[in-house]
């Protein structure tokens, strides 16, 4: 009987441990701070993690095929500068800036897969190279400057003041709200974008034959190849999706901050990788999965938001992130090993 109970507890902990912990956190913060439990704050938290989630889902794709893409942070940053520079320096319409950035994202993904599949550079090294290349280009576009309204054109010989600006339509992506009512601020647009990305990727990976093929390629590439799955195409697709989502994250970020800050994407790399691995623990599946990544990001978001409200100093927040990641993975992997 007792063994049975422990077994069931273990299983419960494995499957719902992270969700239970999230629930406990929410209850705790709601009781201890007054501002925490409100619809506005709920959406604030989601908005705070929206860009991270978008980028992290890209990383999830690369991890699903048993690869790794560390260029995402730099690609995010590149998209910030590239899109804003197009609009401000070269006065290109906002929609072309968006489409152009996404196309460049596709290009970066293809370049990554060229390095990995054609030149056979190990994925970590190849994408590290791309990290520096895109970071370098990012700086080069503006000769190291940030992009803002009224900046001097770095490419003009007479250093004239730029006439372009970032239009409202573009800013909506990061700053807008929809479904406004009298008593409700509305749902932030970045949250809508994030939810779309989560739902589409989730559906794609879990319910389509393509998704199964992605997992098969990551699980046993030889078996997948012999089953007739074009493994190279799938690996290419994973890196392209990763780069495109990083670019999308960059566009939302640019719109949110309303200017083109240099190296704005850097922090997203580590957070995205952490969320992906955190996702291994969610639901106890021990493989990269979209909901896991999403909940991982939300978990950290809730934690940081609540702690900020409790006036926890900013300088211990990274430590807490680390603690959460290590304990989630520790529980998920250690328990599994014991039960074997």
């Amino acid at each position: 009987m007792k063994g049975d109970f422990t077994d069931r507890m273990t299983n419960f902990l494995l499957k719902y441990g992270v969700i239970t912990a999230l629930f406990i956190l929410i209850v705790f913060f709601s009781v201890s701070t007054r501002a925490f439990f409100s619809l506005d704050n709920f959406f604030d938290i989601l908005r705070a993690v929206s860009i991270l989630t978008i980028v992290a889902i890209g990383v999830t794709f690369s991890v699903v095929v048993n690869g790794m893409d560390v260029s995402v942070g730099a690609v995010t940053g590149f998209a910030v500068i590239f899109s804003t520079a197009l609009m401000v320096i070269w006065q290109i319409p906002w929609y072309i800036a968006i489409v152009g950035s996404l196309l460049i994202g596709v290009g970066i993904g293809l370049f990554n897969s060229f390095l990995i599949l054609k030149l056979r550079i190990p994925d970590l090294l190849a994408t590290l190279g791309t990290l520096y290349l895109t970071q370098g280009l990012q700086m080069w576009i503006t000769k190291g400057d940030a992009v803002y309204r009224g900046m001097t054109n770095p490419w003009s010989p007479i250093r004239e003041v730029t006439k372009g600006f970032i239009p409202k339509q573009f800013l909506t992506m990061g700053q807008g709200f929809i479904f406004k009512t009298e008593s409700f601020r509305g749902v932030p647009v970045p949250v809508i974008i994030m939810i779309c990305v989560v739902l589409v990727s989730w559906f794609f990976l879990e319910f389509t034959r393509f998704g199964r093929a992605f997992y098969a390629v990551g699980g046993n590439i030889e078996a997948a190849r012999l089953a007739g799955i074009p493994v190279k195409k799938y690996r290419t697709a994973a890196y392209v999706i990763s780069a495109v989502l990083a670019t999308l994250g960059g566009l939302v970020l640019a719109s949110r901050i309303g200017s083109g800050a240099v190296k704005a994407g850097d922090p997203y790399l580590l957070d995205a990788v952490a969320s992906t691995y955190f996702g291994f623990a969610v639901l106890g599946v021990r493989r990269p999965n979209v909901w896991g990544t999403f909940l991982g990001a939300v978990f950290v978001g809730v934690m940081l938001n609540g702690l900020t409200m409790l006036n926890t100093p900013w300088y211990i927040q990274d430590f807490i992130k680390g603690l959460v990641l290590v304990s989630a993975l520790g529980i998920s992997f250690a328990i599994r090993k014991e039960s074997r």
Binding site: T208, R212, A213, Y215, A216, N220, A224, L226, A227, G228
Partner: protein, 498 residues
């Protein structure tokens, strides 16, 4: 009735003729057993028939139509499938049974783009039920037993409408009960008209399951029987004529001092109570088929694997072999079977590979490696084993198989070997180097005890003092090497003789 026929199949590798003009015919509804010692060409033949080698000489016909098997897909399209010995390579372990069953459907739109787990499970349940293979459809493959994994691969082949199924040593890691289940599965396949090529080294099961038998030896077809003959006839065909000149003449140097005694060694169900002792100056050969537990036994003695049970005594004192570190401290050294994977650091030089276990001896202040001393040491050992070319700064991967083996052996000569464990030291080594390795072994045996695990029975008979025959993790026979009959040994190893 249809048949798969290979004619004059030949496959050459640089320096070796792996398969030499072999004919074989598999008929639907029949089990054709393919037997042969290690390196006889069985797996080469399998790889040709499954399209793994794009290049081969000879022709393959199905019902008198010639087919070209240049890629694994060609084989699949022609209804030829295989269940590998390492069945894990054919499955995606972190996916479910149902998902693995329809793996190739995810490569095309045949079943639509959107796939619901529920539908997939339902279909899997129905399909498995139809062919009579009860498997838990939503279990992950990693949680299945080996037998269940084989069942899954066979079921998948049946869903593809397989016509010719190759079973590559399917029972080598199965328990007796599981093997029984496999046999009944094979009978079911026969009833469905599937032609089966059954590869095995276990002769006892040939008489249970086979309808006809082909024996390979050194890449050639040594014999064909259209029925299952007396097993002694198969054994005769399997064995090489003894090659006297290959082995050095050796006077036994056995002394009275017992250096090592093993008592009741057990590990999982792979090693089931192995006991023996070995004296100074003795060469003890452990022989048996692949999967008999030889490698595992050596690894247990070396502390690379922790035993579930059993004691090891060195010079009469019990030693707990917790790790290779302890073994090496006690003068017990292992030359592992897979030298490229376990023996060598391929991209390092011969020098570094030779000095790696005793590097401490050539270190100065703060662990700085004394390069000259190290070079000198490596050079002298390389000369001792006659490394060719004797260039210690060459990367290990660029040496031939035999010379790579010499590097691994020479590394241990730098210590004071008490017991040297050699696991298939002449596998994949050309004849000239083989001869040299035998000489080296005899030389080492003058001062130390040597345990030689080998599946080449002639090797065991020719250079050992004593021979242990293992089967299913147990020692089934102990004989003196002098005057031992290879046929008797093979009968023990193959389970013909109890």
């Amino acid at each position: 009735m249809s048949s798969l026929r290979g004619k004059n199949l030949t496959k050459a590798f640089p320096g070796v003729l792996a398969l030499d003009n072999v004919d074989i015919e598999v008929q639907s509804g029949k089990v054709h057993a393919l037997v042969g010692a290690n390196g006889a060409g069985k797996s080469t033949l399998v790889k040709i028939l499954t399209g793994y080698y794009g290049n081969y000489d000879g022709t393959v016909t199905i019902d008198d139509h010639e087919v070209s098997l240049r890629t694994p897909f060609d084989a699949l399209v022609n209804g030829i499938e295989v269940v590998h010995q390492e069945v894990d390579t054919q499955l995606v372990s972190n996916l479910t049974v149902a998902e693995n069953l329809y793996l190739e459907n995810f490569a095309s739109n045949k079943y639509g783009i959107v796939i619901f787990t529920k539908d997939l499970k339902k279909r899997a349940e129905k399909d498995l039920n139809d062919i009579g293979f009860p498997l838990p459809v939503s279990a992950k493959v990693e949680s299945l037993s080996l037998h269940e994994k084989q069942q899954l691969v066979i079921a998948r082949a049946l869903l593809h409408k397989v016509r010719f199924l190759i079973l590559d040593e399917p029972t080598s890691s199965l328990s007796l009960i599981e093997a029984e289940k496999l046999f009944s599965m094979v009978r079911k396949l026969k009833e469905r008209g599937v032609g089966i090529l059954y590869i095995s080294q276990r002769l006892d099961e040939i008489s249970i399951i086979a309808d006809e038998v082909t024996v390979l030896r050194n890449g050639k077809r040594a014999a064909y029987f259209d029925h299952v003959p007396e097993l002694s006839k198969i054994i005769e065909a399997m064995l090489d004529a003894p090659q006297g000149e290959l082995f050095p003449k050796r006077e036994s140097t056995r002394q009275n001092e017992v250096v090592m005694r093993i008592e009741n060694l057990r590990w999982k169900n792979r090693v089931n109570g192995v006991s023996f002792e070995i004296r100074k100056g003795e060469i003890l050969a452990i022989t048996g088929l692949t999967g008999a537990g030889k490698t595992e036994t050596l690894k247990l003695i070396f502390g690379a694997v922790r035993p579930d049970e059993g004691k090891i005594f060195i010079n009469g004192k019990m030693v707990k072999m917790e790790s290779p570190v302890v073994a090496i401290r006690n003068g017990i050294y292992l030359v592992p079977e897979e030298r490229r994977k376990e023996g060598l650091i391929l991209d390092k030089t011969a020098r570094e590979n030779i000095t790696v276990p005793f590097l401490k001896d050539f270190c100065g202040f703060l662990g700085r490696v004394l390069f000259k001393k190290e070079c000198h040491h490596a050079k002298s050992l390389a000369e001792k084993v006659r490394l060719l070319p004797c260039d210690i700064e060459r990367q290990a991967q660029y040496f031939s198989g035999g010379n790579q083996q010499k590097i691994v052996v020479s590394r241990w000569l730098g210590g004071k070997p008490k017991v040297l464990l050699l696991d298939e030291p002449t596998q994949g080594v050309d004849i000239g180097a083989k001869k040299e390795i035998y000489q080296l072994i005899c030389q080492i045996a003058k001062e130390a005890a040597v345990v030689l695990a080998t599946s080449e029975i002639n090797e065991a008979v020719s250079i050992a003092d004593r021979i242990l025959v293992m089967r299913d993790g147990k020692v089934v026979a102990q004989l003196n090497a002098k005057g031992a009959d290879p046929k008797v040994i093979l009968s023990y190893a193959a389970g013909v003789k109890q």
